[in-house]
Amino acid sequence: MSWLGLLVFTIGNLITRSLGMFVLSRRVGTASDGAPWTRIVNLVPLAIVTAVFAVQTFSSRGHLELDARVIGVGLAGLAAWRRAPMVVVVLIAAGVTAGLRAL
């Protein structure tokens, strides 16, 4: 990335973030108002979190891929489900993935 690329990346990023924070949010009420649009917006982050999780776990550069990472992250997810602390979750993911790749 060049300095010019950085400038474009930074300005583009600021525009999309500002659109969300200052423009799109005008249609959204407070968390507890129970309006249909507010309910949808409150669910948006959950959909995005799993979307990013799924893409970063099950794909590489635009194609679906199952490798050691799937097992590492899968076991980490199981640990999270069993209420393991975040540090354990993260260490399982990295440790298992690295271990399987070293085999």
Partner: protein, 239 residues
């Protein structure tokens, strides 16, 4: 992972900082690997605050693509931060400077922490604690990665590519507390995976929000048997 009120403990915040530290090291190594000047790598980390956007840029360049499609990809992958900023904009009362700062470092775990908080004051506290821990780790990792980049080599060899997905799966499990959130989460993941082979990188993240439209039509009934007691009680009951 969280207390029943959804607050992350100090040890969890340190773990999150460690995770983004690892992401910072990875992103630095990749960006230096495509001949990015160290100053650009550091400044990009500070002002753009999007490791996934930088990795998307590098993926296009490494695949033989040009600078323009690489930047488009980086911006598309980072566009979801706008939607995340939208969903916290009215969660607690904010002045303009706080809105600017909050949108700048809006990451998935911090936004999720704010949304599951019981009231505006704790939403604000959870958001900033999580965001600052992750942001601090990210910047420190980037700096260390710039210094060490070539020493570590391929960071996926030590499993660092599994670190951020693990943070996200932990976040999802903490935040899925009702049927509608479960539908939004599972639906979003399936939509994104289904689109990934066909759609340009980043677009699946945006289209995954369609799952929220469907989920909002579902009653927010409890996901686990004992409502209000907190998931920890249920998990203990299963053991």
């Amino acid at each position: 992972m969280t207390t029943p009120e959804g607050e992350l403990r100090a040890v969890d915040l340190i773990a999150l900082a460690g995770a983004t530290f690892a992401v910072g090291i990875t992103v630095s190594a990749v960006m230096i690997g495509i001949d990015t000047p160290p100053g650009v790598v550091m400044l990009a980390a500070v002002v753009a605050f999007s490791g996934s956007g930088e990795l998307a840029y590098a993926a296009v360049i490494l695949g033989g693509g040009g600078v323009v499609p690489a930047l488009v990809s980086a911006l598309l992958v980072s566009a979801r931060f706008g939607l995340l900023a939208m969903s916290i904009a009215n969660r607690w009362p904010m002045k303009v400077w706080e809105k600017l700062a909050a949108m700048e470092i809006s990451g998935e775990p911090a936004v999720a922490a704010a949304l599951i908080a019981p009231d505006p004051a704790s939403a604000r506290r959870s958001y900033w604690r999580t965001a600052l821990a992750m942001g601090g780790g990210w910047l420190a990792g980037t700096a260390v990665g710039i210094l060490l980049g070539n020493v570590i080599g391929d960071t996926s060899r030590i499993g660092l590519d599994a670190v951020f997905p693990a943070v996200l799966v932990g976040t999802v499990i903490s935040a899925m507390r009702s049927r509608d959130t479960a539908v939004a989460a599972v639906g979003g993941g399936l939509v994104a995976l289904g689109l990934t082979p066909f759609a340009p990188a980043g677009l699946p993240f945006l289209l995954a929000t369609a799952a929220a439209l469907v989920a909002a039509k579902i009653a927010p009934g409890p996901l686990r048997p004992v409502a209000g007691e907190g998931p920890a009680t249920c998990a203990a009951g299963q053991e």
